[in-house]
Subunit: 324 residues, 2 copies
Amino acid sequence: MSGKRRRGDPGPAELLLATSIGRRFYVQGASKLEIAEEFGISRFKVARILDQARDSGLIRVEFDVPAPLEPTLSDEVASAYGLRRALVLERADRTEIELRKRLGAMAADLLTELITEDDVLGLVWARTVNAMTDSLRGLARCPVVQLCGVSSRIDTREHSADRSVETVRRVAAVSGGEAFPVFGPLVLPDHRTAQTLRQQPGIAEAFERFAKITTAVVSIGAWRSGQSTVYSVLGQQQREELARKGAVAEVAARLFDADGNELVGEPGHHVLAASVADLKRIPEVIALGGGAGKADAIAAVLRSGMVDTLVTDAGAAERLLAQA
Amino acid sequence: MSGKRRRGDPGPAELLLATSIGRRFYVQGASKLEIAEEFGISRFKVARILDQARDSGLIRVEFDVPAPLEPTLSDEVASAYGLRRALVLERADRTEIELRKRLGAMAADLLTELITEDDVLGLVWARTVNAMTDSLRGLARCPVVQLCGVSSRIDTREHSADRSVETVRRVAAVSGGEAFPVFGPLVLPDHRTAQTLRQQPGIAEAFERFAKITTAVVSIGAWRSGQSTVYSVLGQQQREELARKGAVAEVAARLFDADGNELVGEPGHHVLAASVADLKRIPEVIALGGGAGKADAIAAVLRSGMVDTLVTDAGAAERLLAQA
DNA sequence: CCGTTTTCCGCTCATATGAGCAACTTAGCA
DNA sequence: TGCTAAGTTGCTCATATGAGCGGAAAACGG
């Protein structure tokens, strides 16, 4: 039947002693000295029993996170890429739209928690950030600055896309703070137009505030159709040329290669947006991006060192770890 | 959707910080000072985060006992009745025979663990103890003493019942130690016969060793048909008379009332068995008994203060706690 | 706006704790 | 039997830890 007991395999008395002590220590929070006296053994023995019980798996610690987060993956991604924190959503096979919604909701909760009255919030114009707006219910009173112009060619199947520049306004409304929107297109035909637009009163006001931003929310785009705000507004020729030059990711209309280096001085890619230097200056940059297909783009952006907090999903997180 | 965040309800960043710290501390065993330095916070904050995470249920400690035991019930029963330990088998609705088999197997494991070469083992003759023999695979070399005579009227549907006095012999064989069986009936017609039998060479040898026994295994019987070795060999009149006098439990042919007091000097109840005083002198008495219907009998015996270790099942344990 | 209450945080100091060590026991083997 | 190797136990001492305190900041009420 049960076979002969193997050496080192503890009997029921030892097992129950270990669970009793474990309960006293881990659940009820008693001190080891106290437990030692109760059980009539030395405190060293208590310590050894506890260590062994933990190492052997008899005592297991579980985390009941009251949010759809994967704490283990979050830890691993954050430490693998040197981030301040990572928020990895639980796996849930769903459409891109649903995923964006969930990422947005999580980012909204995070923002509500992090932002104080002393902060200045910067927002990129992107679908996931717009989705965040929908879930945002409370925010400390603070200025809200738009970090880049808007793209009109974006997929409009989603309700939030209709509101275009209203994102910043809406966040400011929830917050009660001042809004600094950028009324202008994200990608411009030439450098001169970009310069002219930047001198427009409203836009200039926003750009002046980039240096004061304490927390920014950006979206990570992949250099593929439907995966980037910029990609969608360029011509096929430009898309291919940039891809040849190594573009795999996009944040605030800035492109990155797989190593996280910015692709600078691209011809025909003049944008109305904060520079990478502007973004790197911001103490807390929250980047949103999920889906297994976006993992390479996310990895590239993380390697740029720009991101402090990543909000992603389990599918992308696992791919990130695989290539870390 | 998600509603406004309530006060005191932590955001995702705080949640992940708490799980990260919890993993570092509880799983990886890092010190709080170490964690504080890693996260750039004071060690007091680490302690407070951990306390709060534990109290709020974010961090949950589980016990994976590699045996069919209920550690919580075991703890509770042991502390409610002042036992050294209790082994409560997991609930598993089964027949009495199966239950006895499982109790016996658990007792066998316990005995294997507890007995050393310096011990002297005492065994009662009862079905559960016989069942233990079947599962006993290893035992330190030690003398094995039979604590009472045998009953021939016991239910013989079980294989182990056939072996009658062979139980002690078999245990001694597994152990490699000397056997001291009691070849004689448990219940005798009168005092004189009992005295005569006790002077028989083999029986006297066993009785002389009662005082040296360090560990005994006894079975708890209820004063009902089929629930006690003694009950089965008495006539209906005697059974009823003893029940009127308060008998609810039986151990080694000694009867107890609900308060754990022995029913002494019963007419027509002369037995070939260790006395209650003999049993109370033994440093480690392991009592076996299970099934919800036996709970009252078990409680009675525990109240006698005779038992150090109880081996029972969840059904009985819960009833024991209800009346503790 | 000011005063009060509440909450949060990090300090001091007495206590609890763990690493490492040495004495001891047990197991294995010739 | 005697020997060595492996394991177990409790001690010392430097370090880690928690209770309780007080000061600072936030929240509240007038």
